[in-house]
Symmetry: C3
Subunit: 192 residues, 3 copies
């Protein structure tokens, strides 16, 4: 079930990437597909939590499963919010760093989808969490530079506010990937 949730995040990250190259007429339709993906994510999360709560015995610690499901759900919510805000605020041009943010998120999404089936065998998990932690540090650097760029005086204040909110939400998605990685590490070390 975690695999379904992670696959859905890959779909979301592809829609985010698609949005960056789309003109305003195509954006509304991408936002629509994003909303559908987010609903599918909600269903996956709900199924995990329901089975977790109804089970007396769980494969891993209950709190770890809860944390993993919640963080996966958060990633999807933040990605959907970013797309929705771009449409809602009628943003003409996103600053260049946003593409770098989305590339990092896409890479983290792929790694997460690949790692989920390995929870059964616990194989190759350290590579996963080390790499996602590295990606999160990279996202953090991109994010701070983006903010410095927004504040450098070329944008009008209201435009800064709009763009800041979008890049902040993408940074929150990167943070949520780090939480996923930390939880996977917790699970793997306990089991080993």
């Amino acid at each position: 079930m975690f695999a379904a949730s992670a696959d859905n995040i890959v779909t979301g990250s592809k829609l985010l990437m698609e949005l960056l190259g789309a003109d305003s007429s195509a954006r509304a339709e991408i936002a629509e597909r994003m909303r559908a993906a987010e609903h599918a994510g909600d269903d996956a999360t709900h199924a995990i939590l329901h089975q977790l709560n109804a089970s007396f015995i769980t494969p891993f610690d209950r709190e770890d499963i809860y944390r993993l499901a919640s963080s996966l759900d958060d990633i999807m919510d933040f990605m959907e919010e970013a797309v929705d805000l771009v449409v809602l605020y009628q943003v003409e041009q996103l600053p260049k760093g946003v593409e770098q943010q989305v590339e990092v998120l896409s890479r983290a999404a792929e790694l997460t989808a690949e790692a989920m089936p390995n929870l059964r065998t616990l194989a190759h998990l350290p590579e996963f969490w080390i790499e996602v932690n590295r990606l999160e540090n990279q996202a953090d650097q991109i994010h701070r530079k983006l903010l410095a760029h927004l504040f450098n005086g070329k944008y009008d204040a209201i435009e800064v506010l709009k763009l800041k909110q979008i890049v902040d939400v993408l940074e929150e998605a990167a943070d949520a990937f780090e939480k996923v990685a930390n939880t996977i590490e917790t699970i793997a070390v306990k089991e080993s």
Copy 2:
């Protein structure tokens, strides 16, 4: 004890609503009453956590009780912060959507106060968490539209910053209600 905490939130949501119709002279006095309600909330939270920590056996899982008490406490804190910021920033006119935000919070507060006594019998809880999740989605839509409205160019940038912080804090209150609903669902499914 959760009932006391939830009743206090109903009081807080009524004070929020009162604030919307009040002129600036009445606002300070409402903020004072809000502060008192928040302190009462702190005491209720503290009593719950103290009894939780001192108990060897608890009616529900310890982490669920902890999460429920914290989320109820957060709701009160966010509502108090919103009132305080309106006074502190000397906001003349709140945009119309704020009233919609407060209406959703009031409805969620009432439902939460009604649901708490049902934790004993576990009756009618699904209606509660489904409805609060629906209200949180509604709050989310209102919040995003409010931000788009603030950013549409009619407000000066500093005014946008003030108002944005207030509507963001109210949105955080709505998110905390959703956490309450999710925790109630967790408790109910485990017990069933």
Copy 3:
């Protein structure tokens, strides 16, 4: 191991204080030392979580240890972020209230470093958590007044955005100290 993490926070709070009196040429070097302290903090956190996950029996509840380590780590991250943003945004002059924020953080850091060794004997812990809660309330008041000051019209909107982000991050550090205090209280009451 918590003591190492808390001592590191004291180092961080001293660097923050140093930053306030430094001219722009000295700032980059302080940021460099701050980054080193933050890396040392990451290592300390990682060591705690690794030992926690690898242990079958733990001195306190697993979730409490996890929460304590995470909150200590968050404090360091927020302090490092504040220093980095001051350098990155090339802030000329920080408003006066920032010094008050940093003083409160320094005091909380010292108290936390003093309290950690007492986790063994559980002595003097109530004084600790009561005082840190008081400091967090004080930080909250300073923060709200700082925002009102930033919004009072003397600053340009972009400057407000830069400064707001720095004071918000410092407020998040204060909140994380409160989480540390609450977790210490939880641990102490369970053990008593």
